[in-house]
């Protein structure tokens, strides 16, 4: 069905706009669009893209035409078919994640698998997972964290490793502060960003206690050969310059029943993932049988991401 829609002309969203947003759109003339094109610093901003409204306010048809436009753009840019899915949250699912600090060896395979899966900019490289090397004698003390450890071999004597990524908070401060509502928490607990609505003010980055949000400071450098064509609108589709992005628990995979890329690649099995609402899930097993903690619990962000010492 989506295939069919992707053949629609890119500008078809104008015809299907609802009455209310139609009026708003007309309010902004083509002249404003021209100024805005100049402000992007490139001449490629189309009227449709400029006038596109916030994802959550789009009608079903509008979403499909936006997706069609994006797929066309990506094809022109990368010379291959890129699929942009719009899979909604599965009812009865809230995703949870648990990370076993006693197993993690700090190999950073998760970091790189994530970059490959999620179409991050390679130059400058954007990474959604940061692995911290911590002193065993200090415990989880971030002021003693080594971010750029680079020994011959991991794990290093006297150290343990703590990967940090978006904690998918139940009370996400980043969502609260966004001035335009360009980021929100989905029904399955995943905090997502509408890259076409974000204005790039970076207030969410100041608000996030986990350093989980990343900004496209320059034009994302993503070679055609590196593009993962299996994407989601709210997840790993290629991003424009000047917007914020973050870990989405690989929304394009997990809503299809697959594990996130970081879980799949982990050679030590430190990463556990599943449905918090399913009593038989592995994540529930961890919560039931291990003692877990949350990072920066005192901030009351209520992460759905747990740490535990499994051994």
């Amino acid at each position: 069905m989506m295939d069919q829609d992707s053949h629609q002309p890119a500008g078809s969203c104008d015809g299907t706009a609802t009455g209310c947003s139609e009026g708003r759109r007309e309010f902004l003339g083509a002249a404003v669009a021209a100024v805005a094109t100049a402000l992007t610093g490139c001449g490629k901003l189309t009227k449709e893209e400029f006038l596109q409204h916030s994802f959550r306010e789009l009608s079903k048809d509008e979403v499909l035409s936006v997706i069609a436009r994006l797929e066309k753009e990506y094809k022109e840019k990368y010379g291959k078919e890129v699929k942009v899915a719009n899979t909604p949250a599965i009812p009865g699912v809230i995703f949870g994640y648990a990370l076993d600090l006693s197993r993690c060896i700090g190999c950073r395979r998760c970091v790189h698998a994530c970059v490959q899966e999620n179409n991050q900019s390679r130059s400058p490289e954007v990474q959604w997972i940061r692995v911290l090397e911590l002193d065993k004698e200090e415990g989880v003390n971030l002021q003693h964290a080594e971010h750029y450890y680079n020994p011959e071999e991991v794990p290093r004597e006297g150290h343990f490793y703590m990967p940090v990524q978006c904690q998918q908070c139940k009370k996400p401060p980043c969502v609260k502060v966004c001035p335009v509502g360009a980021t929100w928490r989905e029904k399955d607990g995943i905090v997502v960003v509408d890259y076409n609505w974000c204005i790039g003010c970076r207030y969410c980055m100041a608000a996030c206690p986990y350093g989980a949000r990343h900004f496209n400071w320059g034009e994302p450098g993503l070679a055609a050969k590196d593009v993962n064509p299996d994407t989601h609108y709210l997840g790993n589709r290629p991003r424009p310059k000047g917007v914020v992005e973050k870990c989405t628990f690989c929304v394009q995979r997990t809503r299809k029943g697959l594990y996130p890329a970081c879980v799949e690649i982990c050679p030590t099995g430190s990463r556990k993932f599943g449905n918090l609402l399913d009593k038989d899930s592995e994540i529930r097993y961890v919560l039931e049988n291990k003692r877990v903690f949350k990072l920066k619990e005192e901030l009351n962000t209520q992460p759905n991401f747990f740490y535990f010492y499994g051994v």
Partner: protein, 419 residues
């Protein structure tokens, strides 16, 4: 209808007045335009390449632009420093110069909005943040609040200034029933713009350096030091260069009020420092980065101490009547307090708030050339706006430039023209 016609003449005459002036006037305007051009070229580069041309990165995601923004909101708020005594106590000597404070507020707000605009990654999407047209996340986001109060404050000041000047131009006394409530409204509005701007940082649990209850009071106290400092110097310049009579009395009164706010500002800074340093929790790292350096990184240390020492010396200069009534020491005090607050509410607020970052990493931030050039351009825009407003306002306030004089002059020209 007649009013509309008069208003049109007011606009055209104002345009005429701001486009003619002495050689020095043209040189000053030319200099500002040059700075604006440099800023525009730098900004064009930033648009083309993205914010990567700044030194900001994920760890320190706000820097020089937002620092200047924060400082200038304070300058804009300080306009009420003049309004409060003028209208509450009905103190005439200050009342005359209130309009200057309001023009300063307008110029500061223009710069504030400029700094926000250059800081955002997608200026082409500015309409997303506009009320009604976009989707403002109000009342949740403090930034949404800030957009509303800053623009409302800008409109309010702009209206009052335009109205007062238009009345002066048309040789009518302004209607008190219109002006007084608006000016009184501007007092809580001024407090609110700076409070909301403080809350912007204050509300972030992730950043202990900002997450302190006395941040908003500190913002207000420091704003009421730096804003009037600019005005005091400005008033002296205007006295020398125009026929505007500003009484010594007015200047010394403002200086006296500043002494109190400066004392209070130092007290609040001391209270915050005591709490952080004496309790010595892990939150102290940010203060440590600012005041003493951390793990060998001490870029901010000289600035932080300069700010504290300048603030203290300025306080002494303003506190002792003999010094604040002496022009030399008064002006030294003004420069010192301005510099002190510029450091404290600019880089001294933003950078230690973000360093070390949320995961304990220290990224040493210093503004890039682009950031400095763009900032210079924005400051030049603000100075230009202020210069042009002053150029038109001063003769109108003096009654030298009014609608009847203009008409007389043009009638004379008409009469002198050979038939």
């Amino acid at each position: 209808m007649a009013t509309l016609k008069n208003f049109w003449q007011f606009i055209t005459d104002t345009l005429r007045i701001i486009t003619t002036g002495s050689r020095y006037y043209y040189a000053w305007i030319g200099f500002l335009l040059l700075l604006i051009m440099i800023g525009a070229v730098a900004y064009a580069g930033q648009l083309r390449h993205g914010l990567i041309v700044t030194q900001m990165r994920d760890q320190v995601s706000w820097g020089f632009y937002i620092g200047n923004f924060t400082f200038l909101v304070g300058v804009a708020a300080a306009a009420i420093m003049l309004v409060i005594p003028a209208y509450i106590y009905d103190w005439e000597p200050i009342k005359e110069i209130t309009i200057l404070g309001e023009m300063l507020a307008i110029s500061a707000l223009i710069m504030c909005l400029g700094f926000v605009m250059v800081d955002i990654g997608r200026p082409d999407r500015f309409w997303h943040i506009m009320p009604l047209v976009g989707s403002l996340n109000w009342p949740q986001s403090m930034l949404a609040w800030d957009v509303l109060v800053l623009n409302a404050y800008l409109l309010l000041n702009w209206f009052v200034v335009t109205y007062l000047l238009f009345c002066a131009y048309t040789e009518r006394h302004y209607v008190k029933k219109i002006v007084t409530p608006l000016v009184l409204l501007s007092i809580p509005m001024a407090v609110s713009i700076h409070t909301v701007t403080a809350y912007l940082y204050n509300g972030l649990g992730a950043r202990p350096f900002w997450n302190s209850a006395i941040l908003a009071p500190r913002f207000l106290a420091s704003a009421f030091c730096s804003g009037p400092a600019i005005l005091l110097i400005l008033l002296q310049v205007l006295r020398k260069t125009t026929k505007l009579s500003i009484k010594d009395e007015a200047i010394f009164k403002i200086a006296e009020l500043m002494a109190y706010t400066m004392g209070f500002n130092l007290f609040l800074t001391a209270a915050e420092s005591f709490k952080e340093i004496y309790s010595g929790t892990e939150h102290m790292v940010y203060f440590q980065y600012l005041l003493f350096g951390l793990k060998g990184h001490n870029t901010l240390v000289p600035y932080a101490w300069a700010s504290i020492i300048f603030g203290f010396v300025a306080f002494i200069l303003f506190l002792v009547p003999r010094f604040r009534t002496n022009w030399v020491t008064l002006n030294i005090g003004c420069v010192l307090i301005y510099a002190s607050v510029y450091i404290e509410k600019g880089m001294g607020l933003i950078i230690p708030g973000l360093t070390p970052d949320a995961l304990g990493e220290i990224y040493v931030y210093t503004p890039s050339f682009t950031e400095i050039a763009v900032a210079a351009g924005i400051f030049a825009i603000g100075f230009l706006a202020f210069t042009l407003m002053l150029k038109a306002a001063v003769p109108m306030m003096l009654g030298e430039f009014t609608i009847s004089r203009r008409r007389k002059a043009s009638d004379q020209q008409e009469a002198e023209r050979p038939a």
